[in-house]
C-alpha cells in the first residue's frame, strides 16, 4: 500500500501537476462563487478540456475543480446572501447576517477554515473506508449491484424537498425511458431508434448531463439579467482572518459532528453536499445551548457547521463513486463521466489494478484542499470581483464552451443536438419544478439496473430468490424498502399521537 502511495505522490508532486491542481482550484472557486453556477457546471466545463491530457494530469486537475467549486459557494452566500451552489444554502442563514454586522472577514474565515477541516476529515474517511469497501465490493455480484441501484432510487424520495417525491420519481422514470434508446450491448438488440442510425448509440451521459444542468440553469439565470445583487463592502484584513482560526478550533465538537454528518450523507447515493449542509446546520442548532441565537450571525458554529458538512460530503460522495461506480450526487456523476471518458471504470477492480491512480486521486484531494485554503487567504478580493460580473457576459460564454465541449467528447454533431434537446427538457422541468437530478440518475443507473437484473436472472436460471437470500443484497433491499415505507408510516403514527391527547 505504501509503495502505491509513494507512486501516487510522485505523480501529484510534479510542478505541472501541482500547477494544474492550483488552476483547477482557482477556476473552480471563481465558477463556484458566481451565483447560479454550480460545481457540476464547473466540472462540466473542465471535462472536455482534460480530454487530451494524461490521466496523471487530468485527475488532479478535476479534483482541484471539484474542491474549488464546492467551497467557492461560500463567498456568494456570505457577501451576497445568494448561495453560489446549493451546497452553501445553509451558509447564508448566519453567514450573511454576520457579514452585515461588519464582521465579514470573520464570517469568511470561519467558513474557509471549517471547509478545510471538514474536507480534510472527509479525505481521511475516503482513504480509510474506500479501500475496505472496494475489497468487500469485489465479491459483489449482479444481485448486489441491482439491490444497490434499487436503494439509490429509493433515496430519490429522501433527497427531494417535501412534497416533491412524486415529481422526483416521475423524473427518474423519464430518465429510465430515455436510457432505453439505442443498442443493448449485451443482447445486441436495438430499441426505440425509429430507424435512425444515430440513435443506435443511445444518449451519452455527459451531453445529457451538461444539457440538463447547464442549459436549464443558464436559461433560468437570464431572468436575473439587469438585477444587481447587493454585494457587501468588506474591509479584508488578513490578520483578523488568520486570528479566526483559533475560534474555529475552539468548536471541535461542532466540527466533528458536522463533518460526520457530511461524510455519511455524502456516502448515501443520490444525495450530497446540497443536503448535508442544511442537516448539519439544523443539528448544530439542536445541540446548541443557545438555539435562539441561530440566524442572528453571532455564533461561530452556525457558520461553521454547514461549511464543514458540505466539504465533508465531497470525500463521502467519492467513496461509492470510486468503489462501486455509483455516484453520490450531481458533481460526482460528472466526475464519473469524466473518469469513464479517460477509459477508467470506477469499481472495485480500479482499486486492485490501478492502486497508483487511486492514490493520485486521494493525494490530489488533500492537495486541492490545501491550495483552496491558501488561495482563499489571498484571493478573496478576486472572488468578490467574480461574484459581481454582470450575468449577460457570463451566460453566452459558458453556453459556447458547453457546446464546444459536447462536440469534442465524441466528435459528432448528434451529441450537440442531444445536449440542446436535454437542455430544453431540463428547462421545462425546471419551470414545472421537477428536480433534474433523478432524470440523470435514471439515465445512468437504468442500463446498469437492467444489465445486472438480466445477469442475475441468467446466472440464477431465472430465479429471483438469490436477491433475498444473498445476505448483502437482501440487507440492501430491506433498507431500500424500509426507507420508502417507514417515513409515511411514522408520519401517520406521529399525527395520531398528536391528535389523541387533544
Amino acid at each position: 500500500m505504501y509503495d502505491l502511495m509513494l507512486v501516487g505522490a510522485s505523480h501529484v508532486f510534479q510542478p505541472w501537476t501541482l500547477l494544474a491542481i492550483m488552476c483547477g482550484v482557482a477556476g473552480g472557486l471563481v465558477i463556484g462563487s458566481i451565483p447560479g453556477l454550480t460545481s457540476t457546471m464547473a466540472i462540466a466545463l473542465m471535462v472536455p478540456l482534460t480530454y487530451a491530457m494524461d490521466l496523471e494530469f487530468a485527475l488532479p486537475l478535476l479534483m482541484g475543480v471539484y474542491c474549488g467549486a464546492i467551497s467557492g459557494g461560500l463567498v456568494g452566500a456570505i457577501l451576497l446572501n445568494i448561495p453560489g451552489t446549493p451546497a452553501s444554502a445553509g451558509t447564508c442563514l448566519d453567514g450573511y447576517p454576520m457579514a452585515a454586522k461588519g464582521q465579514a472577514t470573520r464570517a469568511l474565515a470561519l467558513a474557509v477554515y471549517s471547509s478545510m477541516i471538514g474536507g480534510t476529515l472527509s479525505g481521511l474517511a475516503l482513504v480509510l473506508i474506500a479501500p475496505l469497501l472496494a475489497k468487500v465490493a469485489l465479491s459483489f455480484g449482479p444481485w448486489e449491484y441491482f439491490a444497490l441501484v434499487v436503494f439509490t432510487f429509493s433515496c430519490i424520495s429522501a433527497m427531494t424537498a417535501k412534497g416533491r417525491a412524486v415529481k422526483a420519481f416521475m423524473a427518474a422514470f423519464i430518465g429510465l425511458a430515455l436510457a432505453l434508446v439505442g443498442l443493448d450491448e449485451a443482447s445486441g438488440q436495438t430499441r426505440l431508434t425509429f430507424g435512425f442510425t444515430a440513435f443506435e448509440s443511445g444518449f451519452y451521459e455527459l451531453p445529457a448531463l451538461i444539457g440538463l444542468f447547464a442549459i436549464s440553469q443558464l436559461l433560468a439565470d437570464t431572468d436575473d439579467i439587469g438585477q444587481k445583487g447587493k454585494v457587501l463592502k468588506i474591509d479584508f484584513q488578513l490578520r483578523t482572518f488568520l486570528g479566526t482560526f483559533r475560534e474555529v478550533m475552539s468548536r471541535k465538537r461542532d466540527l466533528l459532528r458536522s463533518s460526520f454528518i457530511g461524510v455519511i450523507i455524502g456516502i448515501l447515493p443520490g444525495v450530497g453536499p446540497g443536503l448535508s449542509n442544511i442537516v448539519a446546520y439544523s443539528q448544530a442548532k439542536r445541540a446548541s445551548k443557545t438555539p435562539e441565537k441561530f440566524g442572528t450571525g453571532e455564533l461561530p458554529e452556525s457558520v461553521m457547521s454547514p461549511e464543514a458538512a458540505n466539504n465533508a460530503s465531497m470525500g463521502g460522495a467519492l467513496i461509492p463513486m470510486l468503489t462501486l461506480g455509483i455516484p453520490g450526487d450531481a458533481s460526482t456523476l460528472m466526475m464519473l463521466g469524466a473518469f469513464m471518458l479517460h477509459g477508467i471504470d470506477p469499481g472495485p477492480l480500479l482499486f486492485r489494478d490501478h492502486g497508483d491512480l487511486i492514490w493520485v486521486i486521494f493525494i490530489a484531494f488533500f492537495v486541492a484542499f490545501a491550495f483552496c485554503t491558501v488561495i482563499y487567504h489571498f484571493f478573496i478580493p478576486l472572488t468578490m470581483k467574480a461574484i459581481s460580473v454582470p450575468r449577460q457576459y457570463v451566460i453566452p460564454v459558458l453556453l459556447i464552451l458547453c457546446t464546444v465541449g459536447c462536440y469534442s467528447l465524441n466528435n459528432r454533431m448528434f451529441d450537440v443536438y442531444c445536449f440542446l434537446g436535454f437542455g430544453l427538457l431540463g428547462y421545462f422541468l425546471h419551470i414545472a419544478r421537477v428536480p433534474v437530478l433523478p432524470v440523470i440518475l435514471g439515465l445512468i443507473l437504468g442500463p446498469m439496473a437492467e444489465e445486472q437484473l438480466s445477469l442475475a436472472l441468467a446466472f440464477g436460471q431465472g430465479s429471483v430468490l438469490p436477491f433475498v437470500t444473498r445476505p448483502i443484497s437482501g440487507t440492501i433491499l430491506l433498507v431500500a424498502v424500509l426507507s420508502l415505507v417507514l417515513p409515511p408510516l411514522l408520519g401517520r403514527f406521529r399525527a395520531k399521537t398528536a391528535i389523541d391527547p387533544a
Binding site: 450491448e185 445486441g188 442510425t197 448509440s201 451519452y204 477509459g343 465524441n410 466528435n411 446466472f459
Partner: protein, 322 residues
C-alpha cells in the same frame, strides 16, 4: 467593384481547388476514425499503429474516437464521408458481424479496403475456481455435467462469434454450455473471478494480468502461434481445435476513394506494418502483425466474412430481431 473582386477571388479559389488533386497525396493530416472508446483494444492498436505510420509518411495521422452502437456510428460516418482518402476507418470483424446477424445492412464491401495490419489475439479463459485449464478438461467437465457451465458473450458481437467458433471446432455443443449475454471484457472477467461465470472469451491482453495473478486460467488461445504475452498457454491448434479467431484491424476508406489514393495509403500502411520497430511497439501491447493489402486483402476479407456467415447460419444468429 466589389462584385468584380469577388469574381476574381472565386476564380482563384476554383483554380486552387482544381489544382489540388495534382498535388501529391497526402497534403494534409489524415483522420483515422476508431469506432470504440479510448483505452480499449481498438483504440490502443490504432494509436500505436498511427505512430508507426507517421514514420513512413510526411503527414500527421489523427486518431479520432467516435463511439456508439458497437462501432456502427463511426462506420456510417466514414462510409458516407467525402471519398478523398483523408478519413479512414479502423475496423475489426465486428462490422461484418453486423450484416451477418441483420443488425446493419452493409459489411466490408461498402468500403474500399486499404490494408489489414494489426491483429490482437483472442482466447478462451476460465475462472480459476472452475478448475478448467485445457480444452481436454473443458470437454470432460462439460460431458460430465452438461448445462452446469456458462460462457459470457455479447450476443452477435465479436466475443459471441469467437466463442462459437471455438466451441464449434472443439465439438462442444452450445446446448451444454449456457450462454449468458454480457458485454465488456471487464464484466466477464470479474464474473469469472467471482465464480458466477465459467468461460470468458476475451482479448489475451485483457486477461493476461488475471492469468498472472492466478484468478483466471487459460483454456486456449485462438491464434496460429502462441501469444508472446502468455507463452505458456497452448493454442487451440496445439490442443486439436482448429479455431483461429484473432481480432484483425483493417483500415477502410470510403467506397469511391480513387484507386491511386488507396494504393498510396496501402503502401504506407504495409511499410509501417513490416517495420520491426513498429512490431516491437505493438508486441508491448500484446498485439501482432498479420498484414495484407491489394488482391491478397480482398481474398482474406472474403474468407473472414465467409466464416462469419457460416457461424451465423449454423447457430441461427440472424433471427434475433424477430
Amino acid at each position: 467593384m466589389h462584385a468584380h473582386n469577388l469574381k476574381t477571388g472565386a476564380v482563384a479559389l476554383l483554380a486552387l481547388v482544381a489544382a489540388a488533386p495534382a498535388m501529391a497525396f497526402p497534403d494534409k493530416p489524415i483522420e483515422l476514425v476508431v469506432p470504440f472508446s479510448p483505452g480499449g483494444g481498438s483504440d490502443v492498436s490504432a494509436r500505436v499503429f498511427a505512430q508507426c505510420i507517421e514514420q513512413h509518411v510526411d503527414q500527421k495521422i489523427l486518431v479520432k474516437n467516435i463511439t456508439g452502437a458497437r462501432g456502427k456510428i463511426a462506420e456510417v460516418e466514414v462510409r458516407d464521408a467525402h471519398a478523398d482518402g483523408y478519413k479512414l476507418l479502423w475496423a475489426h470483424q465486428g462490422m461484418d458481424m453486423g450484416l451477418a446477424t441483420g443488425r446493419s445492412d452493409y459489411n466490408y464491401t461498402a468500403f474500399a479496403p486499404v490494408a489489414t495490419t494489426v491483429a490482437m489475439n483472442y482466447g478462451i479463459f476460465a475462472g480459476a475456481q472452475s478448475g478448467i485449464d485445457s480444452v481436454e478438461k473443458l470437454k470432460a467437465e462439460v460431458a460430465a455435467n452438461p448445462g452446469n457451465y456458462t460462457i459470457g458473450t455479447a450476443l452477435n458481437g465479436f466475443s459471441h462469434f469467437a466463442a462459437l467458433d471455438f466451441l464449434d471446432q472443439a465439438g462442444v455443443s452450445t446446448d451444454d454450455v449456457r450462454t449468458i449475454p454480457m458485454s465488456g471484457d471487464k464484466t466477464r472477467i470479474v464474473a469469472a473471478i467471482q465464480g458466477n461465470l465459467t468461460l470468458v472469451p476475451t482479448a489475451v491482453g485483457a486477461a493476461a494480468p488475471y492469468v498472472d495473478s492466478g484468478d483466471l486460467s487459460s483454456v486456449a488461445v485462438l491464434s496460429k502461434d502462441r501469444d508472446p504475452r502468455l507463452g505458456e498457454t497452448l493454442t487451440g491448434m496445439e490442443q486439436g481445435v482448429d479455431s483461429t479467431f484473432p481480432m484483425y484491424f483493417t483500415t477502410f476508406a470510403p467506397k469511391d476513394t480513387p484507386d491511386d489514393v488507396v494504393s498510396t495509403l496501402a503502401e504506407v500502411w504495409m511499410a509501417a506494418a513490416n517495420d520491426p520497430d513498429c512490431q516491437a511497439q505493438l508486441q508491448k501491447q500484446s498485439m501482432t502483425v498479420d498484414a495484407a493489402s491489394g488482391g491478397a486483402l480482398d481474398e482474406v476479407l472474403a474468407q473472414r466474412y465467409q466464416r462469419i456467415e457460416e457461424l451465423a447460419d449454423k447457430f441461427n444468429l440472424t433471427a434475433t430481431d424477430g
